[in-house]
């Protein structure tokens, strides 16, 4: 996701660490982080995903004053009869792969920017989901000095029908 300014903030890192069930104090306590030889609080390895919060165009966050495809009075707030990622038409967009390369851990106080470029696209016949269309995007996160700190490669998949939950689950 393209983001102009992604500040790595202590409260945000703490909430993210809680959400992934990681009690490691290096994610919220400065003194503990220093005792362990770090310069300060760092972020968990998958934290860059939370840059979505700072992407003004991110599609999976309700926007003030705009219709949202989740439920309210009705099961969906928009007409998605044409199908598309994340909603109607029976097909669904899902996250297939995620890969990160790290130059260093993210530290509270860093201010990142991110640029995104498309990667490869391919198709595969799935056993459960019909034809699956994969597409890759590569996001480079740079710090306040312009240094590349994390490269993220994400693969999304669009299935032609909803993946069934198997019997007995």
């Amino acid at each position: 996701m393209a983001v102009e300014r992604f500040p790595i903030e202590a409260g945000h890192v703490m909430m993210f660490a809680r959400a992934i069930g990681d009690p490691n104090p290096v994610y919220y306590d400065e003194a503990s982080a220093r005792e362990r030889g770090l310069e300060g609080i760092i972020a968990p390895p998958t934290f860059v995903q939370a840059s979505a919060q700072f992407d003004p165009d991110y599609g999976l966050r309700p926007k003030i004053g705009e219709p949202w495809f989740g439920s309210g009075r009705e099961a969906t707030g928009v007409d998605r009869s044409g199908g598309g990622a994340g909603g109607g038409g029976g097909g669904t967009g899902l996250h297939a792969e995620q890969h990160y390369e790290y130059a260093r851990p993210l530290r509270v106080g860093d201010v990142l920017s991110a640029t995104v470029r498309p990667g490869q696209t391919w198709e595969k016949e799935g056993r459960r989901g019909g034809t699956m269309r994969f597409s890759e995007s590569i996001t480079e996160y740079r710090d306040q000095h312009g240094e590349l700190v994390v490269t993220a490669r994400s693969v999304g998949v669009l299935t032609s029908r909803t993946v069934e939950r198997e019997e007995g689950k």
């Binding site: 990681d22 490691n24 495809f69 439920s71």
Partner: protein
């Protein structure tokens, strides 16, 4: 804490229960922290009636995040140079996930020791939900 190359050998493995009985609330917590508010993860009405799933399910990135702890608890803080996964199966509320990390190689890159690890997460039915790999910097 960090690992020494001399204390580690190929085949060494760690297994850990990553999550026991995943709750819908934890999925909501992850939505809030990550900013991924896809209704498929929190909105039962949308997920069952519009998208056609039996219930909401966890973000793949929640599973990847939870699994990251297995790695960082072992190799140390801020030691990863690579972490990548494939999401193989959905993770549902009530699932219990167990992760295994296994040392596949110990090698030197520009004089610095690195460990390559394979990562696998299974649910309570023994189905693989995540397959991946990671590389960590070691102390000599």
């Amino acid at each position: 804490m960090s690992l020494r190359a001399s204390e580690l050998k190929v085949g060494d493995a760690r297994e850990q229960v990553l999550i026991d009985n995943l709750t819908r609330t934890q999925i909501v917590q992850y939505a809030g922290a990550s900013g991924d508010y896809n209704p498929l993860h929190s909105d039962e009405m949308f997920t069952t009636q519009v998208a056609g799933y039996p219930t909401v399910f966890g973000h793949g990135m929640l599973t990847m995040g939870i699994t990251g702890r297995l790695l960082t608890d072992w190799v140390g803080d801020g030691r990863l140079t690579h972490y990548g996964v494939q999401f193989r199966s959905q993770v549902w509320p009530g699932d219990t996930l167990t992760g295994t990390a296994t040392v596949e190689a110990i090698r030197d890159e520009s004089g610095a020791p690195l460990a390559d690890l394979a990562v696998r997460v299974v649910n309570q039915r023994g189905e693989t939900v995540l397959n991946g790999s990671a590389t960590a910097r070691l102390d000599p």
